[in-house]
Symmetry: C2
Subunit: 228 residues, 2 copies
Amino acid sequence: MSSSNAIGDSTVIQQRNLVEQVADYLTQAIISQKFAPGERLSEVQLARDLGVSRAPVREAARLLESRGLLVSQPRRGFFVRGLDAAELNDIFDLRLCLERHAMLRLVDDFDADKEQALRCQVEVMCEVATGDSESHKIEEDLVFHRMVIAFAGNRRLLKAFDDISHELRLCLALIGKTHADPDTISTSHWLLLDALASGDPGCCREAIDYHIGVARDYVVQGIGESTS
Amino acid sequence: MSSSNAIGDSTVIQQRNLVEQVADYLTQAIISQKFAPGERLSEVQLARDLGVSRAPVREAARLLESRGLLVSQPRRGFFVRGLDAAELNDIFDLRLCLERHAMLRLVDDFDADKEQALRCQVEVMCEVATGDSESHKIEEDLVFHRMVIAFAGNRRLLKAFDDISHELRLCLALIGKTHADPDTISTSHWLLLDALASGDPGCCREAIDYHIGVARDYVVQGIGESTS
DNA sequence: GTTCCACAAACTGTCGACAGTCGACAGATG
DNA sequence: CATCTGTCGACTGTCGACAGTTTGTGGAAC
């Protein structure tokens, strides 16, 4: 559901607009910490560097602002979002809120197809876990959790998740370390699947609370180390 | 032709950000159904009507898009968001998700000050309920629920609520009728306060589930009537 | 050495303009 | 009559430019 083009992927006529390209560039630059947290971004300089005018740069920056990767001050411009431990806690608390809700909605009509799709995704996650591309690991993990929410059937809920997913990427990238162990990944996510398969809401809630709790503690601890 | 300026009551007030002014104007126009759902908005025409250039209009439109009041199609422009029953259900389901979480967080450190502030707000709601300004009633109701979430202490959760609050305003405005009875308002919200004061999470969850459920049913029913 | 003020550089907010693209409509073709 | 095609108008995406504001710097006053 992530790549949406009915034609295919080879001969896609992707006349992508500049705004998206600039937004992708900025997102990548922020997540890879090419721009330091708190750094001021100049519209003119960005436009010069990217060889475009200020209009698409500005629009892309506003987009990233709505995604929480940039903050803007009137007449002063855009700054790279810095995250302290408190904000990080808030983000993971909201994530828990959304995912818990999705689990409780999903458990009511969980079927074999959905379970199969999710198990498949866990396999993918284990595969990339053996590689050394941090961004791939993060991305596939997000795909799994996004699938859970998508299966819950509430598009608005999914949009809310997509909104914070950008911030999540930033968090995870900022601490720079991910739990690379395939065993840990598979067991921790299978626990979620088992909970869904059991059909017991209480069990689901417990499982997701634990799962997100572990992730949050891990990230908060990581931030504590990186900012010390 | 560019002599008339439609923003605000007085003439050209350029002290405040133009983008904000245009966004306010558009929001008001959409909520008051001056623009019909699904209607296409022309950047040039809006800019002409408001006596500004296309840049702030475009930026404001993107803002409203991020708030869910407009949708954009590449190379085709902006369209006023139309809401069907399914989307409406999704929005209220997400609202339930956020508010339930806030209630459960808040119940842990609920104190007399917060209770006092919330009871005060209920008084205000009852006062405006006797008047005939629909928007005032909606606004004060949203203030109450926003206070609950703000007291929960998660700023990111509050931002998520602010995001959907614009869509909520649209929903509530679209059906055009609000439960004007002060008695109903006071009792239904006092139930929430009592639940919080009791300190029992289960009680809170039950109370907010009921509260949002009633509101959702009411709005969904209203939409069903208005679109039939 | 510190503080204050003035000036210059750079930046954002806003504007008007141009080019490529989309949708509608009329005319051609079967 | 239905369908395809070429043209036209309107609109969005993008650009460069101007004006007012913010910021950083350097010198003068104390």
